[in-house]
Structure formats: C-alpha cells, structure tokens
C-alpha cells in the first residue's frame, strides 16, 4: 500500500504457457518463491517496483515526522518519536535488502528516488504543521499501513514476506503512540481538541487513498492477486480500515470528516462518500504540497552524506591493506 496498488506497474510477461502454468501451480500450492527460483519476468518486475516503492515510502516517511522531533512536547513523546522515525529508516533498509534479492542494486533504487523516477506513497507529500499531525500520522497513516502490511506477511515472495513480518511487529507501537497523542489532545483543553480534529480533517482522505485506486480502475490488481503478491483488493482493505477506525474516532469524540459516511446493516460495513481521485493523481504525479520539498531533502541528505560514504570506503580499504601487509610480513 505504501506502493499504492503499484503506481504505473506493468506486469507483462513473455514466458511460455507451460512455464507460467508450473509457476502458478507453485503459487496456488502456497509455496514461497525464493530469490534463485525461476520466476516470470513480470513477477520479478512487479515485485521490484512494489518493494522499491514501499522502501522509498519508508525513507521519505521519515521526513514529515522528523520535522517534529526537536519540538516534541515532552521527553517521553520525543523518545517515542525518535524511536519511531528510526524504525521507519530500518523498515526502508529491510525492504531495500528484499528488493536487492531480485537483482536490482541499492544504488539504482536510490538514483530512481532522487531523480523522481520512482514513486512513493502520496501520503508523505502532505505537510505536518501541528503536533497533532504526529498523532494523526501514527494513528491513521500507520494504521492504514498495518492494514495493508499484515496480508503482505503472506506474500508469495519469501524475502518480502519475511521483511513484512519484522515490519508489522514493530509497526503496532507506531499506531498506538499516535492514537495516544490524539487521545491526550482530544481530552485536553478546547484548543487542543480543535487541533486534534483539524489534523483528523486533513489526514482522513489522504489516508483512505493510501490503499490505491478503486478496484474498478485498478489495472494490475488481478495479476498481483493471482500471483499472491496481494491478498486483498484496494477496496477491501480500505473498507477494513474504515470499519476499524471510525469507532476509534468516536471513542475519543472526534468526527470523521465525511458527511456521507453511513453504516450499512446488510453488509455490516461503513460506506464512505466520494473520494477525490483527481487529487490523488495530482499528488502522485508530483504536484502535492510537499513533493518538491521531500525530494530536495532526500537529495540534500544524499549529497551531504557523500563524504561520509567515501570516507567509510577509504577507511575500509586502508584496514584491508594493513591486514594484508601484516599477513605477508608473518
């Protein structure tokens, strides 16, 4: 989902029918596919793209929250936020490592992110002007991420599934710390409650589009489902998220900003009002409020860190040379 139903993916594959059939039989038997196993080119490409987008989202996702580390309202909140942002960095690294098992290099992926070629989740192109945004991100954005990532723990590609298991274990703290922030604000002074409501108003719809376009428009969903890269459709996951989240908002007396939201007794599920998909595509295509800032920040970090990477390599070489010389002298 951080891959948003694979923005711009192309799962086209050219293998012969017998090969594809054998592969599909393994998938249907719930066998995991491991890095050196034969796999259709389209499967490999889809995964590289999805895992890459997911990894980039974790890395770019550090930025909106990093914005608040120095201004967290207490030491407790600061320690938690710092740990959470550090986790996002770790998640990015697990995922890059999983993608690398498919034959793409870390450098390629980094270049694609910095050049703007690779996509990441649209959610991180929204700004975080208030402290309540940190609560809303943990509660809603990480909540939506968990909803998507739990089924990914059963993804047919072994390294991705294993990375997701680690990520999910760590992610539940993120959602709880976010909800706790929202709860504290919602039960505080009127100005604090207003701040919490304002954050919910701004993050609700962007969180719903995190699951990607509606099933009716999702071109590549079917192939991903057949290959068991995905286990649920975008709309199914979105519905699950809404059903789980609305009662949580009610519990802290905040209002979900959707006048058309209603409970459907027949389906035992909420139905939401129309989603602005034009806005989604605008943000994905680089015209969100923060797209340029995010990429500029990543580029700056990469360029400012160049001397550190060079120094590390030079230091490593120096140690190896000394070690070799010492061995030769023995």
């Amino acid at each position: 989902m951080y891959a948003q139903g694979l923005i711009g993916a192309d799962a086209a594959t050219t293998e012969d029918a017998a090969f594809l059939e054998r592969f599909q039989a393994r998938i249907d038997a719930e066998e995991k596919i491991e890095p050196n196993d034969p796999m259709p080119a389209g499967y490999r490409k889809t995964l590289i793209r999805q895992i890459g987008q997911h990894a980039h989202s974790e890395i770019v996702g550090m930025l909106p929250e990093g914005n608040w580390i120095t201004r967290a309202p207490s030491l407790r909140r600061k320690a938690a936020l710092l740990a959470k942002v550090q986790d996002e960095g770790g998640h990015g690294l697990y995922l890059y490592a999983a993608a690398e098992t498919l034959g793409v290099t870390r450098d390629q992926m980094t270049e694609e992110l910095l050049s703007g070629k690779a996509k990441y989740s649209s959610i991180f192109n929204y700004p975080t002007p208030t402290w309540a945004d940190i609560g809303a991100i943990g509660w809603l954005v990480d909540g939506a991420a968990i909803m998507n990532q739990i089924p990914l723990c059963r993804c047919s590609y072994g390294p991705y599934a294993r990375a997701m298991i680690r990520v999910c274990k760590e992610e539940s703290f993120h959602q709880r710390q976010g909800y706790e922030i929202m709860m504290t604000l919602a039960r505080g002074a009127p100005a604090q409650k207003d701040m919490a409501q304002d954050a919910l108003n701004r993050w609700w719809w962007p969180s719903l589009v995190m699951f990607g376009p509606p099933d009716s428009d999702s071109v590549h969903g079917d192939q991903s489902m057949a290959w068991k890269i995905k286990r649920f459709t975008n709309d199914e996951l979105r519905r699950k998220f809404i059903n789980a989240t609305v009662p949580q908002a009610e519990f802290i007396d905040l209002t979900v900003p959707d006048p058309d939201l209603r409970w459907n007794d027949d389906t035992q599920s909420y139905e939401h009002g129309p989603i602005d998909w034009d806005e989604f595509w605008r943000v994905v295509k680089g015209h969100g409020q923060m797209n340029r800032d995010r990429i500029a920040a990543r580029r700056k970090a990469w360029e400012d860190g160049a001397w550190v990477r060079d120094a590390a390599v030079a230091h490593g070489e120096k140690r190896r040379t000394r070690h070799t010389a010492a061995l030769a002298a023995e």
Binding site: E34, N36, D37, P38, A83, Q86, D87, G90, L93, Y94, A97, E100, T105, R106, D107, T110, E111, A163, E170, R309, A312, V313, H315, G316, E317, R319, R320
Partner: protein, 93 residues
C-alpha cells in the same frame, strides 16, 4: 557511485540457540557491518550476538539441482520413527 559491499547478518537470539540469518546490510568493512547490523536488526532486544559474513563468500546449492539433492531424502520415510509400528501396550518409546 558504487554500493559498499553486501554482508549477510546472523543473530543469536539468546545463548543456547544458533545464530540465525535475519537479513543483510551494505557496509565498507566488517566493523561497520556489525555496527549497521546492530542498528538495523537489534533495536528491540532481538539478540545478544551478531555475525556478519560477506555475501559473496557464501556458496549456495544450485536451485536447479533441488530435486537431485533433496528428493532422495523425501522418499526414505523409514528414517523417521513414525514409520515403525509398535503396539501401544509397549508404552512410550
């Protein structure tokens, strides 16, 4: 721009258990690989010991020879205790 070498990371969850593979890191040398592995893979008490091994030092069996290598063991069910029928009266064995 070239990637720093890749290292495979193994972690021992606690004494008495083996080191288990948990992922990989890029690092310029083994000292930095251990530091990176500690930051990336042990933020929540996942272990008390880390091994890092250069990825290119690992020799793997050929996936194309999977059947040849491992199928013979699958058909030898007499290597497992449940193959042998012992009357219940004999008790646990």
């Amino acid at each position: 721009m070239t990637d720093a070498p890749l290292w495979e990371v193994f972690i021992r969850p606690r004494n008495g258990l083996s080191h288990v593979h948990c992922g990989s890191v890029h690092a310029a040398d083994e000292v930095m690989a251990i530091q990176a592995a500690r930051d990336v893979y042990t933020r929540r008490g996942e272990g008390n010991s880390i091994w890092v091994v250069p990825s290119d030092a690992i020799t793997a069996s050929d996936p194309a020879l999977k059947e040849q290598n491992f199928e013979p063991a699958m058909s030898k069910i007499y290597r497992h205790p449940s193959f042998y029928e012992i009357p219940e009266d004999v008790g646990h064995m």
